[in-house]
């Protein structure tokens, strides 16, 4: 009997201890007593754990130990990041919020308030999951700028951070805000690309391919030209994006009912707001895609190919046309591909359009976090000049030296290392070499030229026109496009979804489903089936209140709200 009791007792103790260990993870000790020799930037001796709902590369949870030690020395903070591996970041966020057991802060994608994550974040904010950060943010050096009139883009200010229905509270912090209006950051040339060798062989001007019809004619010419890739195999005329199969508008801009936001809403000539299902553009695009596939001009894996295979295709020059990439893609360092087009939008324009100020991701602090002011102060330090210098350029002496103006000069050997062995360079753990841990809390109030004396990392050290990115920018005549660019601000149509339907989310889900339905239509047996799929999708949207929603937007426009499409 004694043994029996002993056995039960030991099992109970082990189980209880395991449970305590499991539960104890979050309640790490916080010491707010400042050591005598600590710098002014010292915040508290504690660990800050962040959960990042982004892809593994963007999350960059692996931090360089020397960088971590520097942060600890300056702020007393040990930063730990955790990532969630999921096919879909939105899915991961929903599961994470539902699980409830969140660490000190969370970070997520949020280009604008029209993203599907937004309704979940608003619901969580409304139900008290997050801390009101307004009082803490006001008390900072960098983030306090968010309260200045005109500093934030309209969508960030009105829909994400300082909503009317929140009574001056702010639960979600939007990131990637440029310090100056219309700042474009680095010179990025995105869109459709074509093999330079094919352009030369056919003797065409790639800038003249501005409509989907012209693109089709070019595709036919390429097919008839019997071009081969680096392995001597026939090229695929139109390949997917360099990131794999996905539906990007750039290939057939003039067949997509949208402006620059990618949301399938636009106004017609009479000023009526319409969704793509209320026009013929959806089915016209389907016809176009089916024609390209049937004639063997577009790979059938255009919407499904894995990223590794797409990149392999780009490296081998297996695609004559890559439907989307940009000039900083390292697989194109040898300048095999150059920009094509761009294809005009439905409104007939194809000029450069710049957001008043951009936004990209965001962070929030769960209401369960102890002393949230520490996280805000830490974010503010990361967004400061010192924090940014660490995040963008690494450690002084190891990765860069300061010139007489106090601006960083990148070590040349690092540029070589990054070119020859990017994976090894990344281990040094800062943004310039592809480690993005600081993006989550510190990447905002951006003005690289003012802060670092150059637009992109290492630009002043690298020889002029040395990189493929710079050469492509020249080929594209980036500076001329920039000079003529339009700056737009305003709220996207889908950013009003929450105001229109609240937590219900039925129309949001129907709009989301339309994207899947279009993909199904591309692969439908014939046009009749494709038409039936799109008709059913339209019916679904109407039943969830699409017409009332477009009327709601028209009323907003009548009230003077600026809408961007």
């Amino acid at each position: 009997m004694r043994n029996f009791k002993k056995t039960f007792l030991s099992i109970f103790i082990v189980a209880f201890t395991l449970m305590l260990v499991a539960c104890n993870d979050k309640s790490s000790t916080i010491n707010t007593e400042k050591p005598a020799n600590a710098p002014d930037t010292w915040i508290a001796d504690r660990t800050i754990t962040g959960l990042v709902f982004q892809s593994a590369n963007d999350a960059s949870v692996e931090m360089n130990p020397e960088i971590q030690a520097y942060i600890k020395e300056k702020t007393g903070i040990t930063l730990k990041l955790q990532g969630i591996t999921s096919k879909d970041s939105q899915e991961a966020l929903a599961a994470g919020l539902a699980a409830g057991d969140l660490p000190d802060f969370i970070s997520y994608y949020l280009d604008n308030s029209g993203r599907p994550e937004m309704s979940m974040l608003l619901k969580a904010s409304k139900e008290g999951m997050f801390t009101d950060l307004a009082p803490y943010l006001k008390d900072t050096k960098t983030y306090s700028k968010y309260f200045e009139k005109g500093y934030l883009p309209e969508d960030t200010a009105k829909n994400i951070m300082f909503r009317d229905d929140w009574d001056a509270a702010s639960y979600l912090v939007h990131m990637s805000i440029n310090r100056n209006v219309g700042d474009i950051g680095r010179k990025t040339v995105g869109g459709v690309y074509i093999k330079k060798a094919i352009v030369d062989a056919l003797g065409i001007d790639p800038n003249e391919i501005t409509t989907s019809e012209k693109l089709y004619d070019l595709a036919v010419k390429i097919k008839n030209g019997k071009f081969v890739d680096d392995n001597g195999k026939p090229v695929t005329v139109i390949g997917p994006t360099v990131w794999g199969g996905m539906d990007r508008d750039s290939l057939y801009n003039d067949l997509v009912w949208t402006g620059t936001t990618g949301e399938k809403f636009m106004t017609d000539k009479s000023g009526k707001v319409l969704h793509e299902t209320q026009t013929n553009y959806g089915i016209e695009r389907v016809k176009y895609v089916q024609k390209l596939m049937q004639e063997g001009l577009m790979t059938k894996e255009f919407y499904t190919m894995e990223e590794t295979r797409a990149k392999e295709g780009v490296v081998n020059g297996s695609f004559a046309i890559v439907s989307n990439m940009h000039n900083f893609i390292t697989e194109n360092n040898d300048l095999t591909y150059i920009p094509l087009g761009p294809i005009k939008r439905v409104d007939g324009t194809n000029d450069m359009v710049i957001s008043y100020k951009s936004g990209y991701a965001g962070w929030a602090i769960p209401s369960t976090t102890e002393m949230p002011e520490h996280i805000v102060k830490f974010a503010d330090w990361l967004a400061s000049e010192e924090g940014k210098l660490l995040y963008f350029y690494g450690l002084e002496g190891r990765d860069y030296e300061l010139d007489e103006k106090g601006k960083p000069v990148v070590k040349k050997e690092l540029l070589t290392l990054l070119k020859e062995n990017p994976e090894e360079a990344k281990k040094l753990g800062f943004r310039g070499v592809g480690s993005y841990w600081g993006e989550h809390l510190g990447y905002t109030d951006m003005d690289n030229v003012a802060d670092f004396g150059e637009l992109t990392w290492g630009e002043s050290v690298a020889k002029e026109d040395d990189t493929a990115a710079q050469q492509i920018a020249k080929i594209y005549d980036f500076d001329k496009h920039l000079k003529e660019a339009r700056i737009i601000d305003g709220l996207s149509v889908q950013s009003f979804l929450y105001e229109f339907e609240g937590d219900k989310g039925e129309l949001t889900a129907a709009i989301d489903r339309y994207k899947d339905d279009v993909l199904r239509a591309y692969y439908a047996k014939d046009l009749t089936e494709a038409e039936a799929i799109l008709a059913e999708s339209k019916k679904n949207l109407e039943s969830k209140g699409l017409s009332n929603f477009t009327k709601f937007i028209e009323d907003k426009i009548a009230d003077g709200v600026t809408i961007k499409y």
Binding site: N3, D88, Q90, M129, E306, R520, Y522, Y523
Partner: protein, 326 residues
Amino acid sequence: MTTFVTYNGELKSQEELEQHYKPVKVSTWVRLKKHKVFYTMLFPCLVFFLIFSYWPMLGLVLSFREYGFNTGILGGDFVGLKYFEQFFDDPRNWIYIKNTLIISCLKLFVALPFPIILAIMFSEMKNSKLRSTLQSITYLPYFISWVVVVGIMSRLLAPDTGLLNQLIQKFGGDGSTFFMMEESHFFPLVFISYVWKGIGWDSIIYFAAIMAIVPTLYEAASIDGASRLRQIWHVTLPGITSTIIILFILSLGSILSAGFDQIYLMQNPGNANVSETIDTYIVRTGLQGGQFGYATAIGLMQGIAGLVLTIVVNRVTSKKFDSSLW
């Protein structure tokens, strides 16, 4: 009238015998104490089931409640049968049920004979070394994750560049068929990959059951002039019938769950009409769409359907074949 019986050579009355054999009523505590070693071994299993099977069942109340981040699973407003109505009101959901049933039936009924045939083939092999090698080879795919299996399939069946299409090209065909994308190829591909991956593993139990058949039955059949085929038909198959039935009943519980990983990974825009099953729909609406209550309600229906089916089939097999789970 007293009845007498002979016991150990002596004549004893029925009363005397009953008194002799009357079982002593032992208390539960004494029995627990007596078998304490076994109960101790059982304890972790009980804890496991309580934590991982019964405790999560509390979450099923979400089928009738509105989920809120602040109210959690148990505290939301009661919404009655709203989610169940929502499910049956959407005509697309009937397609998901149909797809689930088709895939489940393929896996439960059509795939059933394959591991049995393999097990019989193994049992008939004389060379034990060759048998072990072949068994190992057929078990191996079971340990490969569906992510890898579907990845391999995508490569093999890719249009133009895939192995199969290149073979077709060699023989003068077009070679641009996108097998993974075409609706008509979806069910065959699901079935073939399922059988390929699981056949070796599933055959283990059948093989063990065959090994447990008394060899004298085969000898007797052989003396009676039965060929190997006749012996398989009249000795082997009846000998493993109860195993087949029990495994079949066990798998019936998951008839409304067509296997999530495989289907989810094989889904694409081209086969969406036939590849959306209840499981994948739950993930799409529950996780991606954040409709946790609705997804729970669908999961509850799935569970109940599986339970009812298992009970009914268990009753039927108990009466017809004298073989059942309980």
